[in-house]
């Protein structure tokens, strides 16, 4: 006989604890007005009311989970593999975003070593090829990295797909529109 899943019970308890923390700790400490406020001798709804209702939704959901839905069939569990996958995926994403953010300024700094008058990335961020460097390298790392994770190997095909897809995205988003800024050019 398969072991009964306790996923709904644990999720319900987690929701109840979270909602109590939200309603009794986070909202009172991080909101200026209460649930009901008296302003110029008139009662008004304060800023704490709406998030408290949100907390109430989560609390009721948690309560129903641990009482009425505790023994329902098909209770999926969160496994260690879920965490392993998401941590690996986020690592690839953060690495590619870091590359996307800093490779343009880094290349400008590298080029500056050969120049008498130094360039400034901020002034170049709307000119080709500078404005595409960060997005291109970061985008290729992102796509190829995720494909490599799924396939457990880095293949020439996946890098080719990543290069082609990133170029197509640049063509779609950047070339037809003067007012759109590709990442990271709005931040640098």
């Amino acid at each position: 006989m398969p072991e009964k899943s306790r996923s709904n019970l644990l999720l319900g308890l987690a929701c109840i604890v979270f909602s109590l923390v939200v309603v009794f700790i986070w909202i009172p400490l991080d909101t200026d007005s209460g649930i009901i406020e008296k302003v110029r001798r008139r009662l008004t709804i304060g800023d704490a009311m709406a998030p408290s209702i949100a907390g109430l939704f989560i609390l009721i959901g948690g309560f129903v989970l641990i009482t009425f839905e505790r023994n329902t069939r098909k209770q999926p569990n969160i496994m260690a593999s879920n965490f392993k996958f998401i941590i690996r995926t986020l690592s690839i994403l953060f690495l590619s975003l870091l590359i996307m953010r800093y490779s343009g300024p880094f290349l400008v700094a590298a080029v500056n070593m050969t120049l008498i008058e130094p360039l400034e990335y901020r002034l170049l961020r709307d000119t080709i090829p500078w404005k595409h460097i960060g997005y291109f390298i970061g985008g290729v790392v992102l796509i190829a990295g995720l494909i490599a994770q799924v396939e457990s190997r880095l293949s020439v095909v996946s890098v080719g797909v990543a290069i082609l897809a990133t170029i197509i995205l640049i063509l779609i988003y950047d070339f037809p529109f003067d007012d759109l800024l590709l990442p990271p050019n709005g931040d640098v």
Binding site: S33, D47, A48, P51, F85, T89, V150, L180, L182
Partner: protein, 529 residues
């Protein structure tokens, strides 16, 4: 200005809008071209396993807004394109289900039950024709109901519902969506609660942005695109990648089916299928008109009702349901397609989105401005023109035109889309992820927005891992601000009565139903959407 004048203005707004080119001297408006392009894109996306209409809508929205700007002239081309995608993706979804037994969406799963056996018996083209005919018939019926019902419903809402009733109606919608989407009311409530909590961060009326933890990043709140695209699209991409990662790619080869016998859809076939299509169209439309229920339940109900009927009338030479009965495809496709039009009834008449496609229509209207879905849209002002009503009738016209495209070229284009199955998902999903992150960045132009979106993506991933539907989250995020505003106004208008939701009979009934629907649905279980 009478009703007919408004209808005529809506039609002319579509046909006589800004001209893109002329065809033998006939000016072709940009809206017509956008409907056409959106429709073709929708079929391609629907036919691609791993993609769906909302993904294409999410990604095209910033491009469309950048191309057309924020003027009211942009509304019809942008919304026309999105409606084209919605319609195209609905018919396109049947292609991988029938040809390769790989349903792209949960509602297409039931299409595989009879579609794939038909394809195995060499009747793939016929199965696709049945799916297309049934889907378009159901969709057209549903659109007709939308055109007739939405204005009347809006007028009733405006005449009978005051602020407390509208607040109670919003609570009822949230409770309804939480209770019926995904099959677990408790998980639906948690999802809706998280959506409300997220939208209230960094907002409010006080000088200090509430729940911002004193940080600059949270003090501006979460941009709507980061929450909606993060939970809905990025979460789905993460989940899809994880499934591929666990399977490490299926090594199976795609079976080629060879075709034989009559592949045409004859008048006799249509006559035989018509009762099944009609029944399912009514079921799908009725279900679609209620916010949040969605096409999966409609397809299941349509299929079950049709099976019962079929078993009574079946002769020995007819295949069983599940063994390649065209009636099974017809019942499923008509039911799930008839949801899409009717789902716009709560959107246009109440401003409450009922499904993911409607969320993007509301986002587009919000971003461009000049059209706020809700009862005010349908005010028939006799002296001055109500521009929102003209847009509403323009939208109906775009839906009709998309249906005409569906009836004419949709079938041919759909049948040529079998090739999309060959795109490996492990290549497609990372590209969709970069596409989505880019779409978010070009709207917000700060890396912070990408980080927020990834955070919501992780939330969406774990919600899917725990079978918590992300749709209540998204709809609560969209309705949260409106709910708070209307509650504040209702409280003030009722003379600070703390029981303002229970003093009017209509509001009290809505609140009772809100609780009732949660209690009623608690013991039901279904698959997550």
């Amino acid at each position: 200005m009478g009703v007919l004048d408004y209808i005529w203005l809506g039609i002319t707004a579509v046909f006589q809008g800004p001209e893109l080119f002329d065809f033998f001297g006939i000016p072709i408006s940009i809206t017509l071209v956008m409907i056409f392009c959106g429709f073709l894109l929708g079929i391609v996306v629907g036919a691609t396993p791993g993609l769906a209409g909302p993904v294409a809508m999410a990604i095209s929205l910033p491009i469309l807004i950048s191309a057309f700007g924020y003027s009211p002239d942009a509304l019809l081309p942008v919304l026309g394109f999105l409606i084209g995608i919605m319609k195209g993706a609905t018919v396109g979804g049947a292609v991988p289900a029938i040809l390769f037994n790989t349903p792209g969406t949960p509602d297409a799963y039931l299409t595989t039950l009879d579609g794939y056996p038909m394809a195995q018996k060499g009747k793939a083209k016929k199965a696709l024709r049945v799916a297309h005919f049934s889907s378009v018939s159901g969709d057209t019926f549903s659109d007709l109901v939308l055109f007739v019902c939405a204005p009347f419903l809006a007028i009733i809402v405006e005449s009978y519902l005051d602020l407390p009733e509208k607040t109670a109606l919003l609570i009822l919608s949230l409770s309804f969506i939480a209770a019926v989407v995904g099959g677990s009311p408790a998980k639906g409530l948690v999802s809706a609660g998280l959506g409300l909590l997220a939208v209230y961060i960094g907002t409010g009326e006080d000088f200090y942005p509430r729940l911002s933890m004193g940080t600059q990043e949270l003090s501006r709140g979460f941009p709507i695109a980061t929450a909606v695209l993060g939970v809905l699209i990025i979460g789905a991409v993460f989940k899809g990648l994880e499934e591929l990662w666990i399977e490490n790619r299926s090594k199976g080869t795609i079976q080629q089916n060879y075709q034989s016998g009559d592949q045409q859809l004859r008048t006799k076939d249509i006559r035989q299928l018509a009762p099944y299509i009609a029944r399912s169209a009514v079921i799908g439309t009725a279900i679609g008109a209620l916010p949040g229920i969605g096409s999966t339940l409609a397809a299941t109900l349509g299929y079950t009702v049709a099976k019962r009927r079929y078993d009574i009338n079946k002769t020995d030479d007819m295949p069983n349901f599940g063994d390649g009965a065209p009636e099974g495809i017809a019942a499923t496709e008509a039911a799930n397609s008839s949801v899409s039009g009717a789902n716009l009834i709560p959107v246009l008449s109440l401003g409450i989105p009922g499904n993911a496609a409607a969320v993007f229509l509301i986002l587009a209207a919000d971003s461009i401005g000049g059209f706020n879905p809700g009862p005010a849209v349908f005010k028939f002002t006799p002296d001055i023109i109500n521009p929102e009503l003209v847009i509403a009738f323009g939208l109906f016209t775009t839906m009709f035109l998309a249906n005409i495209l569906n009836w004419t070229i949709g079938g041919i284009f759909m049948r040529s889309m079998g090739v999309m199955i060959h795109i490996p998902k492990q290549f497609l999903l990372p590209v969709v992820l970069l596409l989505t992150l880019t779409a978010i960045y070009v709207q917000e132009t700060r890396m912070e927005a990408i980080l927020f979106a990834l955070g919501f993506g992780v939330l969406g991933f774990f919600m899917r891992s725990l079978s918590i539907s992300p749709l209540p989250f998204v709809i609560a995020f969209i309705l949260g601000g409106k709910l708070e505003d209307s509650a504040r106004q209702a409280f003030s208008a009722s003379g600070n009565d703390p029981f303002f939701l229970f003093t009017s009979p209509v509001a009290a009934v809505f609140m009772a139903i809100s609780v009732g629907v949660i209690i009623f649905m608690t013991n039901k279980s279904n698959d997550v959407i």
